[in-house]
Amino acid sequence: MNEPTGVTGAPGPSIEARLVAEARAGNRTAFGHLYDRFAPLVHGVLLSRVPRSDVDDLAQDVFLQAMRRLGSLRNAEAFGPWLAAIARNRARDHWRRGEDTVELPDDVAGAPHPEGEALSVFAAIRRLPEAYRETLVLRLVEGMTGPEIAERAGLTPGSVRVNLHRGMQMLREALGRSEGP
């Protein structure tokens, strides 16, 4: 399937909404495109809440749940916020159920090897309030821009911007660094 291209002229359904419609109709390629677009969002939402070693399996669960429940999504334009909500709920369930929470060592074969600084920075981010934590993980770890975070997570650009700046300020303080130039 060719991925739908953007439309011009009168506003129509977004690319995501069109992909959702096709995925609902059984087009797995469309669901694959949705996966590609939203995997960083799901990964970031989970990474800001649960141990790294559990993120991949939980992300799988989130997309499985989404695939199962796609028919219940009333507004196809809200796929991103809906998916993010599933991911946040899945993370809450993870803690509530007391599922495996043992953090795997970073030298596990095949796993990336983050530098020591990365781990200390990440640990500092994990100690921030939830809203700042999620936004910073999406921006600094997943590489999403502020506008992308707002659009895909269904947040207002203003709130994302505030969370980014306040979160960054708190992170700098936590790391003992001064405000940037």
């Binding site: 970031g44 983050p114 700046h165």
Partner: protein
């Protein structure tokens, strides 16, 4: 300017933020788009593996749509020893906890009794089994992925290309055409299929029902699948279909057909289209007239051709129903109810 860079990456880069980005990048999730490399399959899928599978499915679908359906040695699935089976206990799926993990081998059967179970479908999906469900594994992927559901309730989510996952029931075979669905089988062998996303083919001895998302289909032992209907269909139509499909009194069935046609909405063209091949003579003519009023057929589809039972014009009419092209499922039509036939190299598309 650092604010602009933090917000959208524009403006003069902030060296501190850039350093953090570089340091944290190894923690980033991988996806096929970002990291197009194959990974060794794991017992459970990582998102990267899942995405790669989706991409592989896309490629397979594209190939299937354009190339004569043949299997190459490279595409042949590896025969696994069985499927992962997790036993769960709890009052609901939300509260259920895994209490034991094992495998279900080919030709092995389980009865969930008072428990729930989660069964992997090789590496192409997952099946959840409700309590009091009896299933057997017929083929773990050597030729197809095939279960037999003797009794109970099964929820399936499959992410492989269509036609790879089949479930035998005492009265029909359910063939995944890209979907998630629930299949119930009662003690007497009758069944009910409810499709949540995508499509499912329901077949017995050549009698086929194509069931899209939001629709359901009943089946009875000795008869096969009934006429599919949308779950929002009027009650009168749904009741009438039971009589048409499974009733034994000719007069009652004819009266039910009249009620079905009178109560059908445009969306119920799905049901009426199926009835075209399930009734004959004058009754077929009545279905033709009602369906024509709801969804006008293409000009080349004549009353005579439909009354003769020609499939080509019927398929052309299907394409007008707003349910997608008939090519989609005709290309995947094989003799599903015959395990040997389903396991053999696929036949040419029926059209």
């Amino acid at each position: 300017m650092s604010g602009d860079y933090l917000w959208d990456g524009s403006g003069e880069p902030d060296p501190e933020i850039q350093r953090l980005e570089a340091a944290l990048r190894p923690l980033r999730g991988t996806s096929p788009a970002r990291e197009p490399r194959l990974r060794r399959p794991r017992p459970r899928f990582s998102p990267a593996g899942w995405g790669a599978l989706a991409a592989a499915a896309a490629v397979l679908l594209a190939l299937a749509a354009t190339v004569t359906r043949t299997r190459t040695p490279a595409a042949a699935p590896v025969a696994p020893a069985g499927w992962e089976l997790a036993w769960l206990e709890g009052a609901s799926w939300q509260q259920a906890r895994v209490v034991r993990e094992t495998r279900l081998g080919v030709d092995e059967w389980i009865d969930t009794r008072e428990s729930r179970a989660r069964l992997s479908v090789g590496e192409i999906g997952e099946v959840r089994l409700e309590p009091a469900t009896r299933v057997g594994l017929l083929d773990a992927g050597e030729r197809s992925h095939r279960l037999s559901l003797a009794r109970g309730v099964l929820h399936a989510v499959i992410w492989a290309p269509p036609g790879q996952f089949l479930v035998d029931t005492p009265s029909a075979v359910a063939v995944d055409l890209g979907c998630s669905y629930t299949l119930e089988v009662a003690e007497d062998g009758s069944g009910l299929l409810r499709v949540e996303t995508g499509w499912v083919g329901f077949e017995s001895r050549g009698l086929q029902s194509l069931v899209p998302a939001g629709a359901a289909c009943r089946t009875r032992r000795g008869v096969g699948p009934g006429t599919p209907y949308f779950e929002t269909a009027p009650e009168a139509l749904r009741r009438a279909l039971v009589e048409i499909d499974f009733g034994s009194d000719g007069r009652e069935r004819r009266a039910a057909l009249a009620r079905a046609l009178a109560s059908a909405r445009e969306r119920d063209a799905l049901s009426l289209w199926h009835l075209l091949s399930r009734v004959d003579g004058e009754d077929r003519g009545r279905v033709f007239d009602r369906l024509k009023a709801l969804v006008p057929p293409p000009v080349e589809v004549t009353r005579e051709s439909i009354l003769r039972g020609d499939r080509a014009p019927r398929d052309l009419w299907w394409d007008e129903l707003g349910l997608g092209s008939s090519d989609f499922w005709r290309d995947w039509t094989t003799r599903w109810s015959d395990p040997k036939a389903a396991a053999s190299p696929p036949t040419q598309p029926a059209r």
